[in-house]
């Protein structure tokens, strides 16, 4: 009997459940997708270094995702609870035992959790297939051991999500069962919090702005605290944001309330709602602003890295292309590369040891890269220096960059070189036109290699730097992008659920306003205004955080601000979408029974 009632209740609110569901499905889909990349043991061990490194990045991504998913599920469950509170109260009034109702709540929570996770895994699997395609193109190599439908990833996703849901179900049940049935039925008659001292908000705003100003100053001078700067910045930004949010709304409302603008239409109503609501919302708004900033920052950094692939490649070597023992086809392709200067050295290979003749470096000095002293930004401030034979004997490690990872290089005297028991081969060190232009030409040389499975087919120099950077940064950009979107989806959903939880209390108020003569249009606009403040206050703060925070990343990236545009646009489009959805749902809940 109880089950019938429960199912009936579910049907009437199917649309609300859909929103909850979709958020959970997106979350578990992305989690699963990351898991297929991070926990595939075969893929990690058997593939090359680049893929293994990417796997580490994905692991970090998963941890971050898990943390915010946890918070998200708690909020989503809170919303669920709010929706069903009256029903549960009714069941208890009808005589259902508390344990039974508690059991029902737990069942419902777990059922939703199970369904959404399974659906998410399926959806994530489909996503993974297309992701594999994209990644292969980006990384330029085959992910032979990658499996879009990977049992281990499924299990991990299922276990983690069900664990979180189980935890949430426990909390829900405990909270619900403790409340007397009357409280549950009478929800919405809670009196508002008492009014605080009028001067307190102003103090908070000033304090908050001061703290944030300090945080932004720190971001411009990140070396003050060394490696702790980032963490310290994060903490004080959090504190500063909290005070700003808590104080600003109330302070502004207090100021505006006395103006004649406030006496127009429902402006005072909106002001009053905000003033009383904000205290409840400060924590989540602070979290949203920080997460917004983190996500936007991550995406911007990903794009920025990608945009500076060329510069990264240029810093890796003075030579556009370094080819060891080219075959005939490669030599033909090498002629087509726009060359500035070509140097040839003889070498002898014994196992993984490479020997070079130092006298050759006297005739053709090796060109090395040296960062300029005191440069903040490594990627543009460097110069070339030449190493003769003697210098090369000291700096022979430079040559290991051009051969495989496990190799070692020895620059020895002409006499010693003669004595090495191995066939003499040629290696070509070629300074080319800028790598951006010559990349495709050099790729022809790589494609003609006899050993295409070797890292960048054995071609060293800027080409290798370019390809490595490109694939690595592509992976980072890709991961950053997905993480940022997952973060955004979840934090916006959290905020949406929080706002919608308050909508049930508002139904009575809006009905009353309609009864005393408020046109429907005005009611709709009022809702939109209130939700707008709650949505965009953290977005503004988060964006400010990123704009200042990017200062810190000038150490790593040449021009982070130039990459800010597109990520910001993507973010705002998605965020606005969530805003529109929140307003639509709010209106549906609150204006449902209004007769006009």
């Amino acid at each position: 009997m109880l089950a019938k009632l429960a199912v009936a209740g579910l049907r009437t609110r199917i649309k609300d459940y859909m929103v909850l569901f979709s958020g959970l499905v997106i979350s578990s889909a992305i989690f699963y997708m990351f898991a297929t990349l991070a926990v595939n043991k075969e893929m990690i061990h058997k593939s090359n270094d680049l893929i293994s490194f990417s796997a580490i990045l994905f692991n970090i991504g998963i941890i971050l995702l898990a943390m915010i998913t946890f918070v998200y599920i708690l909020y989503a469950n809170n919303f669920l609870l709010g929706m069903r509170q009256k029903d549960y109260g009714l069941f208890m009034m009808l005589g259902a035992k508390k344990q039974r109702v508690g059991f029902l709540i737990a069942c419902e929570t777990m059922l939703i959790g199970l369904l959404s996770t399974v659906l998410g895994i399926l959806f994530g699997g489909v996503l993974s297939i297309s992701v594999r395609h994209i990644l292969e193109k980006m990384m330029g190599m085959e992910l032979t051991y990658y499996r879009p439908f990977y049992l281990r990833a499924m299990v991990i996703t299922l276990v983690i999500y069900l664990a979180v849901f189980g935890f949430a179900a426990l909390i829900n049940t405990a909270v619900m069962v403790r409340k007397p049935a009357l409280d549950l039925l009478r929800r919405g008659v809670k009196p508002h919090k008492s009014i605080r001292q009028p001067w307190l908000p102003m103090v908070e705003v000033i304090l908050g702005i001061g703290i944030l100003g300090y945080a932004y100053y720190l971001m411009r001078h990140p070396v003050l605290f060394g490696q702790w700067t980032l963490l310290w910045c994060f903490v004080i930004t959090a504190v500063g944001s909290y005070f700003v949010i808590n104080g600003t709304v109330v302070a502004v409302v207090n100021l505006v309330r006395k103006t004649s603008w406030a006496q127009k239409q429902l402006n005072t109503f909106t002001l009053g709602q905000l003033q009383f609501r904000i205290q409840d919302y400060t924590a989540i708004l602070t979290m949203v602003s920080l997460m917004f900033g983190l996500a936007l920052g991550a995406l911007t950094m990903g794009v920025a890295f990608k945009n500076q692939t060329e510069q990264t490649a240029e810093v890796s070597s003075a030579y556009g292309m370094v080819v060891y023992n080219p075959n005939i086809r490669q030599k033909a392709a090498m002629k087509k590369v726009t060359t500035k200067k070509q140097q040839r050295y003889t070498y002898k290979q014994v196992g993984t040891k490479y020997y070079y003749d130092s006298s050759e470096f006297d005739r053709q000095p090796y060109v090395a890269i040296q960062p300029l002293a005191g440069s903040e930004n490594m990627t543009t401030n460097y110069k070339y220096i030449k190493y003769d034979g003697k210098k090369m004997q000291e700096h022979s490690y430079e040559l290991t960059f051009y051969t495989e990872m496990t190799s070692s290089a020895f620059v020895v005297s002409h006499k010693q070189f003669q004595q090495v028991q191995a066939p003499a081969k040629m290696t070509y060190f070629i300074q080319t036109a800028p790598i951006g232009k010559t990349y495709s030409q050099i790729k022809q040389v790589a494609d003609a290699s006899s050993d295409p499975h070797q890292v960048t087919a054995g071609i060293g120099g800027q080409y290798r730097g370019y390809v490595t950077a490109q694939s690595l940064y592509s992976v980072m950009e890709f991961m950053g992008g997905f993480l940022a979107i997952a973060f955004l989806a979840m934090l916006a959903s959290c905020l949406m659920f929080k706002i919608l939880s308050g909508s049930y209390d508002d139904t009575r108020r809006y009905q009353m306003l309609a009864k005393i003569g408020t046109p429907r249009e005005l009611l709709k606009r009022t809702i939109a205004k209130e939700v707008a403040v709650l949505f965009f206050l953290p977005a503004v703060l988060g964006t400010l955080d990123v704009l200042f925070g990017l200062q810190m990343f000038k150490l790593l990236v040449v021009a982070p601000y130039q990459s800010f545009g597109m990520p910001f646009v993507i973010f705002m489009v998605l965020y606005l979408g969530y805003y529109a959805l929140a307003v639509w749902m709010y209106r549906r809940i609150v204006l449902r029974d209004i007769i006009q």
Partner: protein, 251 residues
């Protein structure tokens, strides 16, 4: 001299439920008039249909058939912006549980109807102060509802319902949640407003004591108008006795 009718109800009928399903006839065939300046009560037991009737008058619900005319407007055919304007200009409604906005001060609560109708800020403040004086709540204007007693809250609600000088005041059990002393104060207040400002008042109540303050009582039973009794020149005590008699004979 024929006195002006402020409310005309003709053949009002309300049926709940879908066609083909189980239907419930809340109002069968209700017709009556209210003259301008009258203080009328609609009485009946729970389920008699009086709240349904009030909702029709206040435009909170639409009838299945029949018409309601208030201050010359056929309210049953009003829609959208016209309906909202009508509510905000011609009707003052007193809810049983006050329905004040807790996040607004008393003054801000009272001025809501004026703000909605676009009255200039310079005119709003004197209007609010005036009605607050009439209802003896002027010292409370800067307070929040949470700081008020039940009786004070109801006065604020009455002030809000009068500030825009409507054609008629409608009340849904205005003394329903008040204790006897506060009820008495509230009813004296309503009587004063009716007398001094010639404000037409129509009040739904199940309480004979409250009804005795009115000049006329319409009894509703099973969705239809039963008796109507007038106070005339009698004292309130005498009228109260008659009300009890009528209620006694309903069984």
């Amino acid at each position: 001299m024929k006195k002006e009718q402020i409310v005309t109800v003709s053949q009002l009928r309300k049926v709940y439920g879908k066609k083909g399903g189980r239907q419930y006839e809340a109002l069968k065939d209700v017709s009556f008039n209210v003259i301008k300046g009258e203080f009328v009560a609609i009485m009946g037991s729970s389920g008699a249909g009086k709240t349904t009737l009030l909702n029709m008058l206040a435009t909170f619900d639409k009838p299945t058939s029949g018409h309601v005319t208030i201050a010359g407007h056929d309210v049953t055919s009003l829609k959208g912006k016209h309906l909202a304007n009508f509510r905000g200009q011609e009707i003052g409604f007193i809810f049983q549980d006050f329905n004040l906005l807790e996040s607004l001060t008393v003054a801000e609560n009272i001025r809501l109807p004026l703000s909605l109708q676009g009255v200039k800020a310079s005119q709003i403040t004197p209007a609010v102060e005036k009605i607050a004086e009439t209802l003896e709540i002027a010292p409370l204007l800067a307070k929040y509802p949470a700081e008020l007693s039940g009786g004070q809250k109801q006065r604020v609600a009455v002030a809000r319902s009068l500030v825009h000088q409507p054609s008629i005041l409608l009340g849904d059990e205005p003394t329903g949640v008040l204790d006897s002393k506060t009820s008495r104060e509230m009813l004296n207040l309503l009587e004063k407003i009716n007398r001094e400002q010639a404000m037409s008042i129509l009040m739904v109540t199940h309480d004979p004591f409250s009804a005795s303050y009115c000049q006329r009582i319409i009894f509703i039973k099973d969705g239809q108008v039963g008796q109507e009794i007038y106070r005339g020149d009698r004292s309130r005590q005498e009228f109260y006795q008659e009300i009890l008699d009528v209620l006694g004979t309903f069984e």
